[in-house]
């Protein structure tokens, strides 16, 4: 009878530990997910701002410089290590400018040896800086 009771106690501890491990894993995954979503939003916002800055210039060189200046105005935080412009397309024919940014994120808790994640954001804006012909 005593052996049966101790077995029951042991099993409840094992169950508690198992469920705790599951809860901790879910909490860690949620933390990483929040970080990823938050950084993704920032990246989208930066790409939009860079494309908007680029769209109000009158030539490709100025446009590229404006986009780069816009990105430089962002100061990376501890988890966001790097933000850079990986693609830029100034297309006067289509009257659009396209900016692609990349953001490197360090996950708060690495998942399966994945410590860094790269996020991409793409933004297209109509060119509004070229004066209309009279």
């Amino acid at each position: 009878m005593q052996a049966c009771s101790s077995r029951r106690k042991g099993s409840s501890i094992v169950e508690t530990l198992a469920s705790l491990m599951l809860i901790i894993a879910i909490a860690v995954a949620a933390l990483d997910l929040i970080m990823l979503i938050s950084a993704s939003q920032i990246n989208e916002h930066l790409a939009e701002n860079a494309a908007r800055a680029a769209s109000s210039q009158i030539c490709e060189l100025d446009s590229r410089a404006a986009a780069a200046t816009s990105l430089m105005s962002y100061h990376p935080s501890s988890n966001i290590s790097n933000v850079e412009m990986i693609d830029f397309k100034y297309d006067p024919g289509a009257e659009t400018v396209r900016v692609v940014t990349s953001m490197a994120i360090e996950l708060p808790v690495p998942i399966v040896k994945t410590k860094f994640v790269n996020l991409r954001a793409d933004a297209v804006q109509p060119i509004v800086g070229i004066p209309a012909p009279f």
């Binding site: 916002h45 701002n49 908007r52 800055a53 210039q57 009158i58 030539c59 060189l61 100025d62 410089a65 404006a66 780069a68 200046t69 816009s70 430089m72 105005s73």
Partner: protein, 154 residues
């Protein structure tokens, strides 16, 4: 023997229910509500930022008050039980474009929105912990390029 076991189960139900509600259910409901109010505040900041980037600087105060009023009377703002009025501040900064052939500037507007909200289910034992027993203050800051640079000085 059977009678004792049955009684103990009922006697344990009270404390177990108390612990489940105070430590489990109410904090989770409060945490979910805190997430909801945070994103409702982010939405308010986005609305204000979008407006501030396209109107003259002299009009921002009226516009921000109007947007905050509309937000508070809409579904999202109403559900987030805000204490007082959301506070908004706008600032403009001019940045020189580096490496440009034709020297120019970019003007940015920064809108910071501060919202204080009550917890959904205030828990008496956590009276001093924000979002569980005490009100929580969110300060959201957004930055956007001005649609028309000259509006920043008007």
């Amino acid at each position: 023997m059977l009678r004792k076991q049955g009684g103990s189960a009922i006697a344990e139900l009270g404390p177990a229910l108390f612990l489940l509600l105070i430590v489990g259910v109410f904090p989770v409901v409060d945490a979910m509500f805190a997430g909801y109010t945070y994103f409702a505040s982010v939405l308010l900041n986005n609305l204000e930022l979008r407006e501030a980037s396209r109107i003259p600087a002299s009009d921002t105060e009226d516009a921000m008050t109007r947007i905050a009023y509309n937000w508070q009377n809409s579904g999202l703002g109403r559900l987030a039980s805000v204490i007082g009025q959301p506070q908004t501040q706008c600032a403009y900064n001019v940045v020189n474009i580096e490496g440009a052939v034709h020297p120019g500037t970019e003007t940015y507007v920064t809108v910071s929105t501060t919202v204080t909200v009550k917890p959904c289910c205030p828990i008496p034992f956590f009276g001093k912990i924000p979002c569980l027993g005490a009100p929580v203050t969110y300060s959201i800051v957004g930055k956007k390029i001005m649609e028309n640079q000259s509006l920043a000085s008007m």
